[in-house]
């Protein structure tokens, strides 16, 4: 068996880092809503794809720069997140029921996307699509680099807010014991609305990154669920840096598996890693 070259390994690892960054970015809002709101929000993936299609529409048809669409998408999805949380609170939806309700919401959003954009493939051609840099022998594509930067910046920013600000402490206290936090003057319901809005806005940002690098089809909503859930669970619920780190570990492991052995073994990696982590540290869930 011929050994892979150093360039091949490095380029593959870089590809894994970029794939992991997207897993991390998609998982960030999911992890926060699961860990801090106790909601398993499957609709997070549908929000991301709805955002990707909106980005496509505003850019490909409306002529906007894809990154400028964030000015529309982030507030819009924040509002959607707030509205969702308001409904969840209004009907006292439990953690388990949130899984069922958001699955239903996902199906509705998928149908909505298909009725507007059809089941046909949609590809956003933008100035970022063909841009790439060369660093030594390695090629760095611009859309993936943007995704990595966004994932890093958002994960660090949210980590900082949760760790060092009163808002973060209040959010963590609410997640720890909502009733006691409320007794200490924390506006638990208001914080839940805010956090849900932020999570949906994060899905919106992930959607723009998806639109920049992927060809879209409505049914692809479901193809990300498995690996992103693995990243969220490995990273620890409610931990903002967790999904990104776990995502990159999964992405790089999968990529190196593909570079060294048979690519068909790659899917085994993420779930084997998840099982190992759960066996070693069961308290992460």
């Amino acid at each position: 068996m011929q050994l892979p070259s150093a360039t091949l390994l490095a380029q593959s690892a870089l590809s894994g880092v970029f794939a992991g960054a997207l897993y991390g970015l998609l998982g960030l809002g999911l992890s926060l809503s699961w860990g801090l709101l106790r909601q398993i929000n499957l609709a997070h993936f549908a929000f991301a794809f709805l955002s990707a299609y909106l980005c496509y529409q505003l850019s490909a048809v409306g002529g906007l720069d894809p990154l400028l669409t964030l000015a529309v998408i982030v507030p819009l999805f924040f509002a959607i997140g707030v509205a969702t949380q308001w409904l969840f609170a209004r009907f006292s939806i439990s953690t388990f029921n949130s899984l069922l309700v958001t699955f239903g919401l996902t199906v509705i959003i998928e149908s909505l996307i298909q009725s507007i954009w059809t089941a046909d493939f949609r590809r956003l051609e933008s100035v970022y699509g063909n841009a790439r840099f060369k660093v030594g022998a390695l090629y760095v594509p611009a859309p993936e680099l943007l995704t990595l930067c966004a994932a890093l910046a958002l994960s660090l920013a949210i980590w900082g807010v949760l760790r060092y600000t009163d808002l973060g402490k209040a959010l963590r206290a609410s997640a720890e014991d909502g009733a006691i936090a409320q007794a200490f003057g924390v506006d638990r319901d208001g914080l839940a609305l805010l956090l849900s809005g932020v999570c949906a806005a994060l899905a919106g940002i992930a959607g723009v990154c998806l639109a920049l690098s992927q060809t879209l089809a409505p049914a692809q909503i479901y193809s990300w669920i498995g690996v992103v859930f693995a990243a969220v669970m490995m990273g620890g619920l409610g931990r903002p840096l967790g999904p990104l780190i776990a995502g990159i570990v999964i992405g790089v492991s999968e990529a190196l598996t593909m570079a060294i052995t048979a690519p068909s073994w790659a899917p085994l990696v993420s779930f084997t890693l998840l099982i190992v982590v759960l066996l070693a540290r069961p308290a992460r869930i």
């Binding site: 590809s15 149908s111 059809t118 049914a219 193809s223």
Partner: protein
């Protein structure tokens, strides 16, 4: 009455007669509709192609009903959404036969669902004409009829057609990389290509398999680049070919020659990096295909309707052509036998050739497959053109190498 008046009166009578006669020949179909039932992947991962089949069915049914229908009766297509799930297709075909009581069946989209439908059709002794079954050896039912003319052993015959095309280029490839999805109908073709390549003396420098649904094609692209093959066989279905080419573009690599088994036709032809990509085809929108019965009219209608439906690629190629052929074959058999009896229809199909937009199809070979009519097409100047064999090539088109 003057001669002029008499002549004018005769002319008027003649005109009325002509109008009446024409009307009689084009009488609107009447009576209870003939109900043809089937499922399609209208949602789920295969829906992007499923909608092409629905569009074709809509066109065919509306056109036949505009004429005199089938056996003088209108045709009704009862279509259900199998959500791209073969298990659901099985239930729905059962429902179509026992609850909806359709007169005839039309196949669903894609190998898995067709295999499910075949089992149900066999249980109820129904004819199943289907358009997109990729593994002929699995078609064991004697009343199933394939209209995707890939012959009984496409894993051998088609790679030979492709390698013949490559051998006829000024600089035939000497080394080959075979990278393939493990999606069943693609995987078996890739394994066949591997055998054929070996027999023809091509040096295999890389063989890789990935699971269907793979997201990161970066490492696979890097391995292909490292292997430096003269020719890459990409056993890809749907978007996979685009994903691999996109990953190759990101590392500044463009394979000298590359073939994609079943690409999503629109995204592939529209991607700049797919220039020169080769693929298999049974029909493209140019002569000599357009000379086949009904082809030009169908292409015109499909182009219009696909644009109206908002499809990103409005051309007719393998999927739409196989689908239209299925309707041509089923209705030809019904018309010829003047019967809706499945056994009578099946007997007729086994004994007769049918004129279709693909050419003449026969169903008397193993598993009711006829000739392998798959040709080689290439992306040239932003459109698909058939380049091999010469008899099927677009006027003036030849296989271009970089």
């Amino acid at each position: 009455m003057s001669v002029v008046h008499r002549f004018a009166g005769a002319l008027a009578l003649l005109s009325v007669g002509v109008v009446l006669c024409t009307g009689a020949a084009r009488a609107a179909p009447s009576g209870a509709p003939i109900r043809i039932g089937g499922t399609l992947a209208l949602t789920g991962p295969l829906a992007s192609t499923g909608i092409v089949h629905q569009l074709v069915a809509d066109i065919f049914v509306s056109e036949i009903n505009k004429k005199d229908g089938l056996l003088g009766r209108p045709v009704e297509y009862v279509v259900k959404d199998d959500q791209s799930k073969p298990d659901l297709a099985r239930t729905l075909y059962e429902q179509l036969i026992t609850v909806d009581k359709v007169d005839l069946l039309m196949g669903p989209y894609a190998t898995g669902a067709i295999l499910s439908a075949m089992g149900v059709a066999q249980r109820y002794n129904k004819v199943l004409v289907h358009h997109t079954f990729g593994i002929p050896s699995l078609a064991k039912y004697d009343m199933q009829f394939p209209t995707w003319s890939l012959g009984p052993d496409p894993a051998t015959t088609f790679p030979n057609t492709l390698f013949d095309a490559l051998a006829a280029t000024p600089k035939p490839p000497k080394t080959i990389a075979i990278v393939t999805s493990k999606f069943p109908s693609v995987h078996f073709m890739s394994l066949g290509a591997r055998e054929v390549a070996k027999k023809r003396g091509l040096n295999e420098v890389l063989f890789l398999e990935w699971e269907f649904g793979n997201r990161d094609f970066g490492p696979i692209a890097a391995r292909v680049k490292d292997a430096k093959p003269d020719f890459v066989w990409v056993g890809a279905i749907g978007l996979e070919g685009n994903q691999l080419l996109d990953a190759m573009k990101k590392i500044d690599y463009s394979p000298p020659l590359h073939f994609h088994m079943y690409p999503a036709p629109g995204p592939m032809v529209q991607a700049p990096e797919a220039k020169g990509a080769l693929a298999a085809t049974i029909f493209e929108e140019h002569k000599p295909f357009l000379d086949n019965p009904g082809a030009a009219e169908f292409v015109k209608l499909f182009n219009e309707r696909a644009a109206k439906a908002g499809l990103s690629y409005t051309g007719v190629e393998t999927q739409a052509a196989a689908s239209y052929t299925a309707w041509q074959v089923l209705t030809a058999a019904v018309t010829a036998t003047k019967s809706l009896d499945d056994k009578v229809i099946a007997d007729w199909l086994r004994k007769n050739k049918v004129d279709t937009i693909q050419g003449k199809l026969r169903f008397d070979g193993p598993s009711n497959y006829g000739d392998d009519l798959m040709r080689v097409k290439q992306v040239q100047n932003g459109r698909w053109v058939t380049v091999w064999p010469k008899s099927a090539a677009a006027p003036g088109a030849t296989l271009q190498t970089q």
